[in-house]
Amino acid sequence: MNPAPLLGLAVVGVGMVLCGVRIVRGPTAFDRLAAFDCLVLDAIGGVLLMSMRLETAEYLDAVLIVTLLGFLGTVSLATYLEGTLVD
């Protein structure tokens, strides 16, 4: 079996840990939000690598949904932090 997806999963996992460090450390809430965005993108990459490992394309639906959910979360939290959220 091709070892490349597993190696890639390890690297992406390390990247998620780095984003987590920035989430814990980040001086402002905006830093945390940007790092969370990166964490979501890393998770999507992990799903893609796992589906390459399993030789299937079943998880592409999950990729689509998580992409849109991550965007929705970023937009709503950014507008909330900016204070222009219409009540």
């Binding site: 992406v12 790092a35 965005d37 990459g45 390459m52 689509l64 965007f71």
Partner: protein, 124 residues
């Protein structure tokens, strides 16, 4: 043989850029620089990974969904980063000291001082 090589190449590029994005989020010196990393590098990495998957499983549904995901990611990542940067600027996250030109400042100040657009008659 050649497709496997292509898949491994795209996978390697994708993983490399995903890692670079995470490293940039952790290591870059200020917020506006940190915003660059996930927007550009992670987008490129995800596009490369999706390409690898589409080459690896060459079916019509897979390729369609991969292209759709590429379009979504390519549209949403810059939008989210723009919103984040604007929200941070208006919330007085300080620019780095090395900034030479701040083209948004006059616009933001003008908008701050502008009178309210219209008075709601129900208030009177």
């Amino acid at each position: 043989m050649w497709t496997e090589l292509l898949v491994d190449l795209a996978l390697g590029i994708g993983v490399f850029f995903m890692f670079i994005a995470s490293l940039g989020v952790l290591r870059l010196p200020n917020f506006y620089a940190r915003l660059h990393a996930p927007t550009k590098a992670a987008t490129l990495g995800l596009l490369s990974l999706l390409t690898a998957l589409a080459i690896d499983v060459p079916e019509t549904t897979t390729i369609t969904k991969a292209v759709l995901a590429m379009l979504f990611i390519g549209a949403t990542a810059p939008l989210g980063a723009h919103l984040l940067g604007r929200a941070a600027y208006r919330s007085f996250v300080r620019l780095p000291a090395a900034t030479l030109i701040d083209e948004y400042e006059p616009v933001a100040v003008k908008r701050e001082r502008a009178p309210p657009a219209a008075i709601d008659p129900r208030d009177e």
